[in-house]
């Protein structure tokens, strides 16, 4: 990929469970962003975490950043069927990985 890898490639969980997705990146960053994409639609910005931040919350989303390991994680708590989508991380240069496809079963 252009900037790194998301892990896992696919994740299937039951509604109400938590979902964790990981992202590794290759180059130094000023910030890292997470986006969601529903099938056949454009990407929607979820959250941006800056390189001097270690954790950030937004509603049911929690993002962590470990610059020493060049990695980030996205946690979605109490998942809903509507969270079913592909999730992508992007480095500060707006380069994306291949994404994690999340399926939340009702």
């Amino acid at each position: 990929s252009q900037q790194g890898e998301e892990d896992p490639q696919a994740l299937s969980i039951q509604e109400g469970e938590n979902a964790t997705m990981n992202c590794s990146y290759k180059t130094s960053i000023n910030n890292l962003q997470w986006y969601r994409q529903n099938s056949g639609r454009g990407l929607v910005h979820l959250i941006l975490i800056r390189s001097n931040e270690r954790e950030k919350h937004s509603g049911r989303l929690r993002v962590t950043l470990d610059t020493s390991k060049k990695s980030s994680s996205l946690l979605i708590t109490a998942s809903r069927a509507a969270d079913t989508a592909s999730y992508f991380c992007a480095n500060g240069d707006m380069r994306f990985g291949a994404g994690t496809r999340l399926t939340v079963k009702p």
């Binding site: 990929s1 962003q33 454009g42 990407l43 910005h45 941006l48 992508f88 240069d93 994404g99």
Partner: protein, 114 residues
């Protein structure tokens, strides 16, 4: 407008035909990106504009691909002599600030080359 608008929504082109894809970013947005997304893959960077200046075109796959943003607002991605491997969704994204802000994406143009 309220969001990033891309047109056409769908385009079918015969191999060898030239196509032009349009992106209307949110008014006042400085940064603009173009991406190519194949089915089941992440968006692949094509090119980046800051106002009218094309600062990075390293992702354009060949000299058949050309992008412009002459007045720093509307952008056009042109593909000459389309090939079947050009079939993909082309996404445009814009942001008010430069590279340190969340981006707003359009819904994309799905190009099918037959």
């Amino acid at each position: 407008g309220a969001g990033v608008s891309q047109s056409p929504r769908y385009k079918v082109a015969k191999r060898g035909q030239d196509v032009a894809l349009r992106c209307d970013p949110i008014s006042g947005h400085v940064s603009l990106f173009w991406y190519q997304q194949a089915l089941g893959q992440g968006p692949e960077f094509l090119t980046y504009f800051q106002n009218e200046a094309q600062l990075d075109k390293s992702g354009l796959p060949s000299d058949r691909f050309f992008a412009e943003r002459p007045e720093g607002s509307v952008s056009t991605l042109k593909i000459q002599r389309t090939q079947q491997e050009d079939s993909a969704v082309y996404l445009c994204a814009s942001s008010y600030k430069v590279l340190d802000y969340g981006y707003t994406f359009g819904s994309g143009t799905r190009l099918t080359v037959v």
